[in-house]
Structures are given as C-alpha cells and as structure tokens.
Symmetry: C2
Subunit: 282 residues, 2 copies
C-alpha cells in the first residue's frame, strides 16, 4: 500500500492507473477508521481494480464551536487497518496543502443541504462539497463510496455530482452497527460508559418507528413522536431533530405512502450523534 | 469534426481519447465566433492532439437586465469556421441539459472575482465558474484556452483551478484586434457604424496609458485619468471603470514599480465593451 501526501503525486498515480484501463474506487474519510469505513474499502476492492482511501480531517466542514481540534486522529492505526483490507493507496494531505493561503473558492451545496444538518450546522455541507470536489479532482475515481449513516451527506454529494456533471458513480453503503445496534461512528469514542448505554436511544427509536410503520401507521408526526419518546426514555440529553422524510428531497412526510427515511440527531453528554433508517411499508 | 449535444456521449468520447494517451485542448465559447476564438482553436490544435470547442450561451452568467436573450446565436456559421480550423469535436448542449430542473449547486468564485466586473455584474463570475467547472467535468481536458480580452475571467478561472485542484493548465491567449485596434468581441456586432467608431476609445485609452508609462509616469491615478480622458474624447457614453491594477490580485496600483494591467469597461450606445492591456515599464 502506498501512502502519499502530495496531491500532484497522487493525481499522477491515478491518471496512470486510468490510462492503464483500471477502474478506481475512492473512499474519502476523516480517519479514526472503524468497521463502517472498512466495509467501504472492501466493497471498493471487490468492485474496482484499485481502492484509494483519503484521510483528511477537513476543517471547513466544522463549525467554530465544533470538535475539529479534538476530532480523533489515529493515523498509524488507520494505515494498519487499511493495509489489512487491501487498500492500494492512501492520500494523506496536510491542511496547508488542501487550503493554502488565499484559498477562496467553494462549492455551494445543492438545496437538499438546507434541511436538518445544514440548518443546525451552517456551512457544514459547503465544507463537505468543497472538499469532496477537491478530492475528486486529485483522485478522478470511477466510483465513490460513502456510508449511509451520513444520509443527508450522501444526498448532498449526489446532488453535487448531478448538478456539476462529475463523472463518478456514488455508492451509498449500509450503516455498520455494533452488536447492540449503535451505528458505528468515529465520535463514539468520545462516549463514557454511561453515555454509550444512553446512545442506544437512537437505534432503538428507529426500531420503534419501523415497528409502528409495519403495524400500518402512516402518520409522519405520530412516528416522529414515537421516536422522540424512545430518545427521551434512553435518555438522551437533547434532540436536534427526529424526522420522517422523503428519501430524496429530505422534506418532512406527513402521510406515508411510499418508503420514507427516519433521521435522528441527538446529544448524549457532550457528544452529538446521528443515525437514520429507511422504512418500507408494512 | 463531430458535433455532440449529449454530455454523456461527449464524456465517453473524451475519456476514450485520454485512455488512448491523447492530449486534449478545450476551448469553451458562447458561440458567435470571431478570430479571437479561432486563434484559441488553432493554438489547441498546435499544442494538443485533440481540440474540443464548446458552444453554450450560459444563462447563469448573465444578470437579469443583461443581453442573454439577444446574445448573438450563429451556430451554423460557428460550426463552419470551427471545421475549417481543424476542430475535432464541438459540444453543443441545451439549457435543459446543463441546468435541468432542480439544479442548485454552484461554484462560489475566488476573491479575485469581487473586483471590477464582479462588482458591476453581481453573480456573473459565479455563473462563469459554475459552467466552466461543469464543462471541465464533461470534457476533462489537459489544457483550457481562454482569451486574455476577458482578463478578470482568466484570473477567476485560474483561482478556481488552483483552489479546487482542477487537473488542467489554463492558457491565456493574446487579445485579437481589428486592424484599427478594436478588441474582437461577439458583442461588437451590436455596434452601429457610429458606435463602432466611438468604440475605438477603449483601445486608444490603453494606448495612451502605455505611452504615459513608457515616458516614465508611475502614478496609477494619473494614468487612470489619462484613460478616462481618452474615453470621454471618443466619446463613450459612460465608463464603468478605467483602472490600473496588479496583474494577479487585480487590486488598484497607485505607485507603479512592476508590470500592471489597464482594465476598461465602458458603454457605447447600448453596448457594454471591455478591454485591457498589460503595461511594462519604460
């Protein structure tokens, strides 16, 4: 496995691979890798000729009061697990390389960024679309792999890919969960033992919603209330949102006639967690 | 010469060329081609294996009170002259293809867009960066050819290329002029015979400024006054700006110690014209 910090060198490597007719899979990450990320690398290895991961804690997607400084950085472990998954190349740029002095061009994300996370974390998705676009120029991959745990992020990236004609296919992969249901996240390592127990409120709320829908409930607001009840029973410390939304527009759905997505963001202790699930009708 | 309206087909063509090891030159245009455009096509033919032009009157770079509707559209003639220049492919998308319903992702241009044209035409450069980025995804060229007549546009595109890591070299080519000095522009065809005569004020103003600098004048404001005097002598009907600026930042320069650029925008009748020149010291 090669580890390259230079964008010019990485581009040259990928361009050569493309000229050789290789199919390139890209897995952009912020490091602190867990089984969710590794499932993306394995899928890229299975479906492409070359799997390329990037590790970069992107400052522009963090708000001023968010956890950019304390975000876990575990580079050596990350490289070990990527090597074990058969990853071919890891691009590990520095901040100064990605955002040199004078950097001032950004990608304004599509409308789907205006809901939920976009409302609570202003500027977050602008940071995401900008860094993903940049990475896709340095690593012109055929397929980009993203985790469905960040459901809205996938929708935003798909919107950008469509609107800006980016020549890539976006694969959204299933959320990987701990045995007890907690969605894997780099931020789970912030949780104390007690927080960790309370964090189960998110996946339990989604489970309750799924059962309610299977039992024939078609009222979005009733299901939202059920999710809130489950979250407060955990108890989580605060709820940013618990919503039943259209799978593409992410607009709230009141009367459920086709599959919907349940999206949750909540705080447990000082840790902000998100989770989601797609609900099919009973 | 192939003429393709479909972006998917165009991308497939270019991707195949790249895999074949061909060097691709791109000339984005809004049609209504003149000798300035053709000089870019000839340079692309000379320095690349494949020359690809695009013809698309991009609505997002026109303001609500600008000339989008009446902008000259001369497709059949354009294709004839491109064919005669040895152009290999022309991409001619429709509005609906470039901006389908729901399109909402844009490229916020770099800071250099905030001056001059950016101030007078709000949103103009956002339209330019967005369409150029889109075209570069559909046609991943090695070199992009742009006319220096749109000096600030070239600076904005170079800023975007640098900030977003676009894998392309931008070549800015000399302004092509009529024998009497008028910079070639698709908008020149709006000019009545009398306007055409008065339009010479722009190139004459730049000539006067060059002579003043050659004679040792180092005062930006004195040279600006000299350009304004020449414009009002033409007379033009109004001056948007007549400025002496730094060649990269486009900030006004008061004390001239190294090469500067003179930039002019003025109205003659209902036609808005721009011109510029780089001045070396005497």
């Amino acid at each position: 496995m090669r580890v390259i910090a230079s964008s010019a060198e990485t581009y040259a490597f990928v361009d050569r691979m493309r000229t050789d007719g290789k199919r390139i899979g890209l897995i952009p990450t912020m490091g602190a890798l867990h089984e969710g990320h590794l499932s993306l690398v394995r899928l890229a290895k299975k479906n492409c000729d070359v799997a390329i991961a990037t590790i970069f804690v992107n400052p522009t997607q963090f708000g001023p009061n968010e956890d950019f400084q304390k975000y876990p950085r575990t580079l050596e472990q990350d490289l070990d697990v990527l090597r074990n998954c058969g990853c071919d190349l890891v691009f590990t740029p520095t901040n100064d390389q990605m955002y040199p002095a004078g950097h001032s061009t950004y990608v304004e994300p599509p409308n789907v960024a205006s809901h939920w996370e976009g409302k609570i974390r202003p500027g977050h998705f602008r940071g995401v679309t900008t860094i993903v676009l940049k990475l896709l120029q340095i690593i012109p991959a055929h397929v980009g792999y993203f985790g469905r745990k960040d459901y809205q992020q996938v929708a935003v990236i798909r919107g950008m890919v469509r609107d800006l004609n980016l020549p890539i296919v976006i694969e959204a992969c299933e959320t990987v969960r701990e045995p007890d249901g907690l969605a894997m996240s780099s931020r789970n390592r912030y949780l104390s033992a007690e927080d960790r127990r309370r964090a189960l409120g998110l996946s339990r709320a989604l489970g309750s919603a799924q059962r309610l829908i299977e039992n024939g409930c078609t009222s979005g607001s009733q299901i939202e209330q059920c999710m809130r009840d489950a979250l407060l029973a955990a108890p989580v410390d605060s709820i940013d949102y618990a919503a039943i939304v259209h799978p593409e527009t992410l607009e709230p759905v009141e009367s459920i006639l086709s599959p919907v997505v349940g999206m949750i963001a909540a705080r447990v202790g000082t840790t902000r967690l998100i989770d989601n699930a797609t609900f099919t009708l009973g």
